[in-house]
Amino acid sequence: MLTVTDLNVWFGYPPDRVDAVKAASFTVAQGESFGLVGESGSGKSTILRAITGLIDTWSGQIEVAGQAVAGRKRDRAFHKTVQMVFQDPYASLHPRHSVDRVLSETLKLQGMDDIDGRISRLLNDVGLGKGFRFRYPHQLSGGQRQRVAIARALAAEPKLLLLDEPTSALDVSVQAEILNLLTDLRAEHGLTYVMVSHDLAVVGHMCDRLAVMRGGRIEEIMTVDQLRHAGATQDYTRHLIAASAGYERS
């Protein structure tokens, strides 16, 4: 479903050039759920942004559903296939567009029927009642905004969902509802997920395999089984897993 080969992403020009992603390669099969974890600032969001066509300074190959993409150009069929939930829902929601408008525009763009019924179902799916339909982003809590962003991505009924910390602003009960929803959608429609999360337990629950990133590079690709049973081969991964056991006051 997704093949990334030798991906390099950079910003700016020398001497200020930032090499955010260096020679990253991974593949995600149709119906698979793939995790991206690692250091803050290691290039996880940048990989997802390059795939969706938000960055043009990259080299390497990106193939989605067998189609190679180039630069920032993506056609309508691409956005029917691929949707992304951004790490920063505030920045990705237009401040003057109500929830209703955000969802109906996506639905219309994809040529969907029964817009009204679909909006109600989507809001219900992400645990937001009717009362939220005509709210604006500034009238929502952080987690409510994140759920609107998830509803918008699901509205297009994509085949591949790129999820950047999709539940980091949610309390764990709402997180459980959203993760169960994603599990159901994957089972029913064979969706494919790439999910960035700093929470190894969430990745363990949702994913089959994961890549561990640090300093722009993929340090290691492993199965969740290895993650659970101390199967990491790289020091950094071991360190990450050990640290996730919790915080100890010094």
Partner: protein, 289 residues
């Protein structure tokens, strides 16, 4: 806890909506000492709004009322904006939930930190610049020189959080309200950032309000925890007792956590009860309210 740094009694935040007045915060009370006070709760339960209300940041038409809202012995309820500004970012700082959105998008990050620092400590630009670099290093920013010259949209989500923390700690506040300050950080960077906050509480007696969804972290890092549901505090616990919570909402939260060592097909979800909105508070702790 001897003297409270901050005392909140019956705090309410109300918004007019099409369906009538909506109370986002419905009578929250607590005292904050020189401690790490965790706040956990349902998405939309009023955690951020409580923080904003303390700092006078609730935007109209929202209205804030309270029986008491005092910083030391000064009332700070609905102070005129000019007086509030002297308190905000000086005596009380807040790390917002959307840090990148709260930074000035058209100003370089270094200039923003330098300005925050000089506003408080005065002094020359060079000294402030050095201080800013030190603080970025302290929050584990790998290349502080570059980040000083970058704009907010040029840093990652977790870097934005750390920059905001560095900036809010610059004025050496008496109280820090941190709204999900580490939600985008990997665990090893997170530990370093928490150590900084922990040190400020321990060594300088800062009061910390730590809003978080991470139950295990709150249980380990904080002293006390308030559990919020639908605009109220429904339970107050010593952090180390969080795993023995009595309120069904808190218990439900603990059950819905995914665990690496205990895989399940589906996560348990809550059956929310209307009665939870209005259950009486559980006061296990003296001064806990």
């Amino acid at each position: 806890m001897t003297t409270a740094l901050l005392s909140v009694q019956n705090l309410r935040v109300t918004f007019p909506t099409r369906q009538g007045a909506f109370q986002a915060v419905r009578g929250v009370s607590f005292d904050l000492g020189r401690e790490r006070l965790g706040v956990v709760g349902e998405s939309g339960s009023g955690k951020s709004m409580t923080g904003r209300a303390i700092l006078g940041l609730v935007r109209p038409p929202g209205r804030v009322t309270a029986d008491r809202l005092t910083l030391g012995d000064q009332s700070i309820l609905n102070l005129p904006e000019r007086q509030m500004r002297a308190i905000r970012g000086n005596r009380i700082s807040m790390v917002m939930q959307d840090p990148k959105f709260s930074l000035n998008p058209v100003m370089r990050i270094g200039d923003q930190i330098i300005e925050a620092y000089r506003l408080h400590a005065g002094g020359g630009r060079d000294a402030a610049r050095q201080k800013a670099l030190d603080m970025l290093r302290a929050v584990q920013i790998r290349d502080p020189e570059r980040v000083m010259g970058a704009y907010p949209h040029e840093v990652s989500g977790g870097m934005g959080q750390r920059i905001m923390i560095a900036m809010m700690l610059a004025p050496d506040p008496e109280i820090l309200i941190a709204d999900e300050p580490t939600s985008a950080l990997d665990v090893s960077v997170r530990t370093e950032v928490l150590n900084i906050m922990d040190g400020l509480v321990r060594d300088r007696g800062m009061g910390l309000i730590f809003i978080s969804h991470d139950l295990n972290l709150v249980a380990q890092f904080c002293d006390r925890v308030l559990i919020m549901y639908a605009g109220r505090v429904v339970e107050t616990l010593a952090a180390k007792d969080l795993h023995n919570a009595r309120h069904p909402y808190t218990q439900g939260l603990l059950n819905s956590l995914p665990r690496l060592d205990h895989p399940v097909e589906r996560l348990a979800v809550l059956q929310r009860q209307d009665s939870w909105r209005d259950v009486p508070l559980q006061t296990d702790l003296p001064g806990g309210l």
